[in-house]
C-alpha cells in the first residue's frame, strides 16, 4: 500500500493529451495500407475456411482440416470480427467490413455483443458493478467481489466457460446471475431471444448438419471436426481474453472513482485495467492483436494492426508518468490468471496463504481505496 501511484489532475490532463496526440496521428495515417492489410486477413481466413471444409472429404487429412478450420474461426472472431465490430474499419465504407453490418462465425449475435462489449465493457472498463466482463457474472475475478461458498467452484466454472466460451459470450447479455438473484426476470431478456435463436440455428445448421451431410459417408468425422474447431477457437479466445484484464497487477475501480472522470482519467483507467502479452508477429495476428490489450483499450476503434506499431511509444509515456505497463509472455500471464482463479475461489484469509510465485512480488491484496488514481503495490514492484 506504500507505493500507490497517483497522478495529479494536471498530470492526468497531460497524459491524456499525449494519448490524444497518438490517436490523432493514427487517424491521419489511416489509408490504403490498413485496407490492404485487413483484406489480406479476410482473404487468408476465407481461404483457410474453404480449405478446411474441403479437406474433410479426405479422411487422412482430418487433423489438417480441423487445424485450417480452427485458424479460420479464430481469425474470423478475433482479428476480423472483434476488430471490425469495434468500428475499426468503418472509415473504409465497405459494407463487408462495417461494424453495423458484420456478423461473425460465433453463436453470439453481433448486435448483442457490440452492446455488452463496445459500450459496457469498453466504456466502464474494470469498474466493479458496471463492467460485467469482470468475472462475466459467473466467476470471482476480483478481491472486491464478496466471497460466497458458490465461488469454491471458481476453477470449475472457469474451465466450463473456456470449453463453451462462445455460448458463454452469447448468454452474457441474459445476465443469468441477476435472474437467479431475483433482480431481473426472464421476461426482461425477451428482446434478446429472437436474435439468439436465429444465430444458434444458423451456426449449428451449417457446422453440425449441412457441412457434415455434404461429406456423405464422412458425416460423423466432419461433425466432430467442426465441433473440435469450435472448441479450439473457444479455448484460444478464452485464454487470450482472460490475459487481457485478469493477470496479477491489473487494477479495478469503484464507481465513485470513475464518476465524472476526465478524458485523461479514462485513458489512465484503460491503461491500468489492461495487460499485454508478448510474442511474435503471427501470435499477435492470431490474438486479433488483443495481445496489445493496453493499446486496444486506449484506442479501441483504431485498426488493431496499429497497436504493435505504437506499443513502444505508449510504454515510454507510461514510464515517464511512473505508470506500470503490464506485459509478459503468454505462459506467465496465463499462470497469473490461473492462480487468481484458484486463489479467489477461497475466502480471502485462506487464499492469502497460497505461495507467491517468484518474480511477481507481493500478491495483490489491496482493498481499494477511494483514491482515484491508485496502483496496486505489486504493479509498482513488477
Amino acid at each position: 500500500m506504500s507505493e500507490n501511484k497517483t497522478l495529479t489532475p494536471e498530470q492526468l490532463e497531460a497524459f491524456g493529451a499525449e494519448m490524444d496526440a497518438i490517436r490523432q496521428r493514427l487517424v491521419d495515417e489511416l489509408g490504403e495500407e490498413d485496407a490492404t492489410y485487413i483484406r489480406n486477413v479476410v482473404k487468408a481466413q476465407r481461404t483457410l475456411e474453404v480449405a478446411g471444409r474441403a479437406l474433410f472429404y479426405v479422411p487422412p487429412a482430418w487433423p489438417l482440416a480441423v487445424a485450417a478450420l480452427s485458424v479460420s474461426k479464430i481469425l474470423d472472431n478475433m482479428e476480423i470480427g472483434h476488430n471490425v465490430m469495434h468500428g475499426q474499419y468503418d472509415w473504409m465504407g465497405d459494407p463487408g467490413l462495417n461494424s453495423k453490418m458484420y456478423e461473425w462465425d460465433n453463436v453470439c449475435p453481433s448486435e448483442q455483443w457490440k452492446y455488452s462489449h463496445n459500450y459496457i465493457h469498453h466504456t466502464y472498463t474494470n469498474i466493479l458493478g458496471k463492467d460485467r466482463d469482470i468475472g462475466y457474472g459467473v466467476l470471482r475475478m476480483d478481491e472486491d467481489q464478496k466471497w460466497r461458498p458458490y465461488y469454491l467452484g471458481n476453477p470449475v466454472y472457469a474451465t466450463l466457460l473456456m470449453i463453451f466460451f462462445e455460448w458463454g459470450v452469447m448468454m452474457h447479455d441474459l445476465e443469468v446471475e441477476r435472474i437467479v438473484a431475483g433482480e431481473r426476470t426472464w421476461a426482461d431478456t425477451k428482446h434478446l431471444h429472437k436474435g439468439m435463436i436465429r444465430k444458434i440455428r444458423n451456426q449449428t445448421l451449417k457446422d453440425y448438419l449441412l457441412f457434415p451431410a455434404l461429406t456423405g459417408p464422412f458425416f460423423v468425422p466432419t461433425l466432430v471436426g467442426n465441433a473440435t474447431a469450435n472448441l479450439v477457437r473457444n479455448i484460444w479466445a478464452f485464454n487470450i481474453i482472460f490475459c487481457g484484464h485478469f493477470p496479477t497487477g491489473v487494477a479495478t475501480f469503484s464507481e465513485e472513482e470513475a464518476e465524472d472522470e476526465s478524458r485523461g482519467h479514462w485513458y489512465f483507467r484503460q491503461l491500468l485495467g489492461s495487460a499485454n502479452i508478448t510474442g511474435g508477429k503471427l501470435f499477435h495476428v492470431m490474438t486479433g492483436n488483443l495481445s496489445h490489450q493496453i493499446e486496444h483499450h486506449l484506442f479501441p476503434d483504431l485498426p488493431a494492426r496499429r497497436y504493435p506499431q505504437i506499443a513502444a511509444e505508449v510504454r515510454e509515456i507510461c514510464e515517464r508518468y511512473g505508470l506500470d505497463y503490464n506485459t509478459g509472455p503468454l505462459h506467465r500471464q496465463l499462470g497469473s490468471v490461473a492462480r487468481k482463479i484458484v486463489r479467489l475461489a477461497l475466502p480471502d484469509r485462506l487464499g492469502r496463504r497460497l505461495p507467491t510465485p517468484p518474480g511477481l512480488g507481493r500478491l495483490p491484496f489491496v482493498s481499494r481505496s477511494q483514491d482515484a488514481s491508485r496502483v496496486s503495490p505489486d504493479r509498482a514492484a513488477a
Binding site: 469495434h86 461494424s99 449441412l210 479501441p300 476503434d301
Partner: protein, 378 residues
Amino acid sequence: MSLSLSISTRAPRVTRSEVPGGALARRLLRSRAVAALASPHPVDRYLELVHPMWAVDEVRARVVRVQRETEGPEPVTTLALEPTSTWQGFRAGQFVQVGVEIDGARRTRCFSISSSEADGHEALTITVRAHEEGLVSKYLATRAEPGLVLHLSQAQGGFTLPEQLPDRLLMISGGSGITPLMSMLRTLVDRGYDGRITFLHYTQGPETAIFRDELRVLARRENVDVVVVHTRHGGSRFTPQALAELAPDHLATATYACGPAGMIESVREVYGDSDLLRVEYFKTSTLQPADPDAAEGSVSFTRAGASAANTGATLLEQAEALGLTPEYGCRMGICFSCTSRKTEGAVRNVVTGATSALPDEDIQICVSQPVGDCVVDL
C-alpha cells in the same frame, strides 16, 4: 468523322465475365442452401475473392474504356462500364450510385447514365466532370483506367421517358445536366423515334461543352433540333422568352429538364404545376460550412421531422434536446452505437477536431457537432 466519334462514345458490347456455369450455377449460388453454408457471411464475400466480377447479389462494374470529352481545369470523361451479371439494366434518364476506393476508403456518389438504353443490359457509360472540390468526380474523371472495378447500385430514379412516347419532346439541360438527357436522346434515336425533338442545352462555352460532335451529327436528322447556348460567349442564361421563341408550343409539350437547381427553378416557374414537365437537378451541397467555433445555421433531423437552430452542442445532445431518443452508448466516440447518416452539411469531430462535409456520410453523433447547417437522417 464526327459520326464515327459519336458511335465510339456508345457503351461497348463485350462479353461479361461472370460466375461460370450459367444460369443454373447462379441460381444455385443464390439459393437458401448455399446462403446457409456461407452463413454468417453473404455469398458474395467469397465470390469476390475468386474474381472481382463474380457476384450473385451486389453489383460491380469494370471500367473497359476511358474517353476524355473535354480538357481544362475541370475535365470531363466518359467511362464505359461492363457490369456484373447482377446488373438489371436501366432506363434512359436514370442514375446510378458509383463507389470507388480512394486511399483505402470507398466513396460513393450518384452519376447519371449517359449511354443509350438500347445498348442493353451488358453495358453502360457514365460521363463525369471533375469538380474542383469533388474527390470522387475528380478521381473518376482524371485517374480511372481500364480494369478499375467500381461498386454500383442498381439504376435509380424516376426521371425517365414514358412507356407511350408522345409525338413531340422538349429537352432542356444546363451544364452536366446534359448526361441523362443525352441518354434519352440516344435511346430515342436508336429506337427509331420519329416524333419531333427539340434539344436545348446551356453550357459555359465550347471548351467545356461535351457531346458537341455527336450533337452536331444528331442535329442533321430531320426530326431533331439542337440548340446549344454558350452563356459565357454572349448567350443569355435560360429565360422564358428564349424558350417561347425556340419552342412556341412548349407549354403543350412533354418537357424534360435537368441542370443546376437555379435553372430548374426558372423552368418550373414557366410550367407552373403542369404535369408535362419532368425535372431532375443535381444535389449540390448548397449548405456552406461555417466557422466551427461559432454555432451557426440550423440542424434538421429528417425522419423525426424536427429542426432547430444549431446550439453548437453535439448532434446527439441537440437531437435529445428536441425530444428525440437516438440510440447511443459510450457518448465518447468509441462504441459506434450512435452511428447515423448525415445527408447534408458539415460536422466537426469534437475529439479529433476534423471537419467533414461529405454528403451522405455515416457519423458518430455523440462526438459530432454541426458546423453551420446540418441534416441528419434520424
